[in-house]
């Protein structure tokens, strides 16, 4: 027998790999995607399938260009997670080129320019999203009407939309956050009553269910110990506090209710699937709590005072910049160093 010379530890946690982690994240998005599909039709699923295929191709190409082995990294599923998260954030029935540009930017500019998995300072999906939002504002705001108000497009419509030369010309509707931003002169409660889109049980038809299911998926991931509670709790708490402070009994220029903020737009999706991206966030638990809280504050400020209806993407990218700084000030107390500091 030849003796292997390997270093300790010799045992490894069974079934623990990057691939496993990524698979669990993908699994956790399923309920949210299904609800999106129920309310808005198959657009999101088609986005995801098309986007993932493109992402794999881009990743392989990037690895090949960088002269790396492209088989092992492709199997880690991380690029599929990036594409899936981006495609969930895109409007359903986006044209193919919008998806292609978004995925390309995410994978190439968001990830490989910096050295690939683990080296990207920014959340790749959000890089792609923001580039699209800034470059193609029209296409990026073409959400369809949810089930209960309009016709939900079918598979054929979906494919037509995907390969249409111009953007999908079915009825495009404003999302609750759009309506909220465009509101002028209506009291918050009246606004919530005035439009069919806003009369969901909690915060806008369909959107509250979408948020609830992403919340459920997030809690499952938390229980699987894929990430810790710090970033999501930080963000949701900060958002709650801001909304509570800014809520002025529902005047026409006020900030909107706490529930409206918690269950609208990308709140839960952002809290559990975007800001929990470990690579681009702060490293320590305390750091992640602060990271999340700052995102929460930014989301509120941009939603209420900014020019864009939703703000998770901007909030996350801004905080990605700040993450190294947060790390510097939130190093945990190492064993045996507490007392020394107290002595000083």
């Amino acid at each position: 027998m030849s003796l292997m010379h390997v270093s300790s530890p010799h045992v490894h946690k069974p079934v623990s790999s990057v691939e496993q982690v990524m698979k669990q994240v993908l699994l956790a998005t399923i309920p949210g995607v299904l609800v999106l599909t129920w309310f808005f039709g198959p657009g999101t699923i088609i986005n995801i399938v098309f986007g993932s295929a493109l992402a794999l191709a881009f990743e392989a190409w990037a690895l090949w260009l960088r002269g790396k082995d492209y088989k092992t990294p492709l199997r880690d599923h991380s690029v599929i997670v990036t594409a899936t998260l981006l495609c969930i954030a895109l409007p359903p029935y986006a044209p193919w080129w919008l998806i292609a540009v978004g995925v390309g930017v995410s994978v190439l500019l968001g990830k490989h320019v910096f050295g690939g998995l683990g080296y990207n300072p920014f959340n790749p999906a959000m890089v792609g999203y923001v580039v699209l939002l800034v470059s193609f504002p029209l296409q990026m705001s073409s959400w369809t009407e949810p089930r209960g108000i309009g016709e939900v497009p079918g598979i054929v419509d979906a494919f037509t939309a995907l390969f249409a030369a111009s953007s999908y010309d079915a009825v495009t509707a404003a999302t609750p956050l759009d309506l909220f931003r465009q509101n002028s002169g209506m009291l918050f409660d009246d606004l919530m009553q005035s439009k069919a889109e806003l009369t969901g049980p909690i915060a806008g038809l369909g959107w509250d269910w979408v948020n609830l299911t992403f919340l459920a998926g997030g809690i499952w991931l938390l229980r699987q110990r894929i990430f810790t509670w710090h970033a999501p709790v930080g963000m949701l708490t900060a958002l709650t506090i801001c909304a509570a402070l800014g809520y002025d009994e529902g005047s026409s220029t006020g900030g909107g209710s706490v529930l409206f903020h918690l269950f609208s737009g990308a709140t839960m999706f952002g809290a559990f699937f975007i800001i929990t991206d470990p690579v681009s966030s702060a490293v320590s638990n305390k750091g992640r709590l602060i990271f999340g809280a700052m995102v929460g504050i930014l989301v509120y400020l941009i939603r209420v005072h900014g020019n864009y209806p939703d703000a998770v993407a901007f909030g996350v990218l801004l905080l990605n910049f700040a993450a190294p700084l947060i790390d510097q000030y939130t190093q945990p107390t190492v064993y045996g160093t507490k007392k020394v500091e107290a002595d000083e």
């Binding site: 003796l3 010379h5 045992v11």
Partner: protein
């Protein structure tokens, strides 16, 4: 019931302790020859005092301690010295060491051993000397000379003695077995240790996955008033000295310090027995109880092994199937190291020899990029940020490594165990620690040369100042003279004037 406390992080790897049938111990067959390294401890190597061809008896000292941080080596049985040369020895770095080979004659004749009738009458120094001469070094795996550990009482002294029977590493059951079979001797040893260091409390610490050992210890501890058995939840690495102290006492050993700094002394149960045997029976350390386990063995279990027994022979007596194993581990699966040569001997720190099959412990998986998931930080018992340490270790950023307290890493491997990217983190830390130590030494050297430079500079300045002072003194004296009327310059001028007057007068 004593209150216990929790530590940060920790993991729960499969224990697999049943395999070696804890609580039973059998003698390993006498090998034909023994290979005894002169360094089985941390510190200076012992110096051989026998020569090739000498006959030795069991218990005879064959290498003596050199310097204070060193312990002697004794022959475990009778025979003839057949070689003294460098051989491969069990050490993480894969080094060789001078070894004394003894071919045994099978008679197992011993020298007469003389114990103390009443150790309480002896001075501490005399007791320490006996511990030192018996060759005792931490038998739990650390191998630090016990006499040194017992002697170092910094201000305040030692108030608590902890007998560390945690044995949190998977597979190993040597301490468990020792506690079940020799509880009384452990408590006797603990009493001696407590007496030597003046401890008021003795805590016998046992993880709650060893109820039989805890029971045995409880019965034995009834004989010692200051002793108390404490059990606590099973978690790796609760048996780390620093971690155990936090669990039992809710205090932390200061960074860079040792338990004695906060008045605590930790000893392994086998070490306690060795101290007892040295004082009461006058016997040196020549045997130890070692767990021989793993699925490559037909007959795993705990063995009483002569030090110096080649690992190959130990494995063979346990029915080793070499075809199914591709590594043999000295120590446990978390912190042990792979044996590179089966002729390496069992030494004082060999608490386990593990021969797993290829499916039991598969070869390491390829390393992937760190995704900064933070699972390592969640698992680290020292509250470090292993992912940052990894990053800085790769970047060789010594400043950040120090800022992130690399030196407080206990190399427990919990981080690497959970890492989904299969990064051999501990390997990076070991080499980074090596370079940090180098840098520290380098700094001392350059500080030395800097202080030499500064000393020279100071001397030159002093000399210059002295010259200046002299010059100033001369000047002051001259001025003083001038004021007193006998300025030499003025005088010369006067003289010249007078001369001129005379000359003019003479013409």
């Amino acid at each position: 019931m004593r209150q216990i406390f929790d530590i940060h992080g920790g993991i729960h790897p499969p224990e697999r302790k049943d395999m070696s049938n804890p609580g039973w111990v059998s003698d390993c067959d006498m090998p034909s020859k023994l290979v005894l390294p002169v360094t089985q401890h941390i510190g200076a190597p012992a110096r051989p005092v026998v020569e090739v061809g000498d006959t030795v008896l069991g218990g005879q000292m064959i290498a003596e301690a050199q310097g204070s941080v060193s312990v002697p080596v004794h022959a475990p049985s009778s025979g003839t010295v057949t070689a003294i040369e460098a051989r491969a020895v069990p050490h993480a770095s894969g080094l060789t060491d001078t070894c004394i080979e003894i071919s045994l004659d099978g008679k197992d004749e011993w020298i007469g051993c003389e114990g103390l009738d009443n150790w309480r009458d002896e001075t501490k120094a005399a007791l320490l000397e006996r511990v030192r001469l018996a060759g005792i070094a931490g038998l739990g795996g650390a191998g630090f000379p016990t006499a040194i550990k017992l002697a170092s009482d910094r201000d305040g002294g030692i108030h608590t003695l902890i007998i560390n029977g945690t044995e949190c590493e998977p597979y190993i059951t040597a301490d468990d077995t020792v506690m079940q079979c020799f509880a009384q001797q452990i408590v006797e040893g603990a009493e001696i240790l407590a007496h030597m260091v003046g401890a008021e409390t003795v805590l016998l610490a046992v993880e709650d996955n060893k109820p039989e050992a805890a029971d045995a210890m409880r019965q034995a501890a009834a004989a010692l008033e200051i002793a108390e058995v404490v059990t606590f939840p099973t978690k790796y690495p609760s048996g780390g000295e620093k971690q155990l102290i936090e669990i039992l006492l809710n205090t932390q050993v200061p960074s860079g310090g040792i338990p004695a700094d906060i008045g605590v002394l930790c000893q392994n149960p086998s070490t306690a027995i060795a101290v007892r045997d040295a004082l009461i029976d006058g016997k040196p350390v020549t045997h130890r109880i070692t767990t021989v386990t793993g699925m490559s063995l037909k007959d795993p279990g705990n063995r009483r092994v002569m030090l110096g027994t080649p690992i190959r022979e130990l494995l063979e007596t346990a029915g080793f199937n070499a075809d199914s194993a591709d590594r043999v581990i000295h120590g446990g699966p978390m912190m042990g190291f792979a044996v590179t040569d089966l002729d390496m001997p069992v030494v004082k720190i060999t608490n386990c020899v593990l021969a797993p099959t290829r499916t039991e412990i598969p070869p390491p998986q390829p390393q992937q990029a760190c995704i900064r998931c933070g699972m390592c930080a969640e698992a680290c018992p020292a509250s470090l940020l292993p992912q940052q340490l990894y990053w800085y270790a790769r970047a060789k950023d010594q400043e950040q490594l120090e800022r992130h307290n690399l030196m407080d890493c206990i190399e427990c491997g919990a981080c690497a165990y959970v890492c989904p990217s299969h990064i051999p983190l501990v390997q990076y830390y070991r080499s980074a620690k090596g370079s940090l130590r180098e840098a520290a030494k380098e700094k001392v050297r350059s500080d030395n040369s800097r202080s030499r430079f500064e000393a020279r500079q100071e001397r030159l300045e002093r000399e210059a100042a002295a010259r200046e002072a002299k010059r100033a003194a001369r000047k002051a004296a001259a001025e003083a003279r001038a004021q007193a009327g006998d300025d030499p310059v003025q005088a010369a001028i006067e003289r010249a004037k007078a001369k001129k007057v005379q000359q003019e007068a003479g013409q």
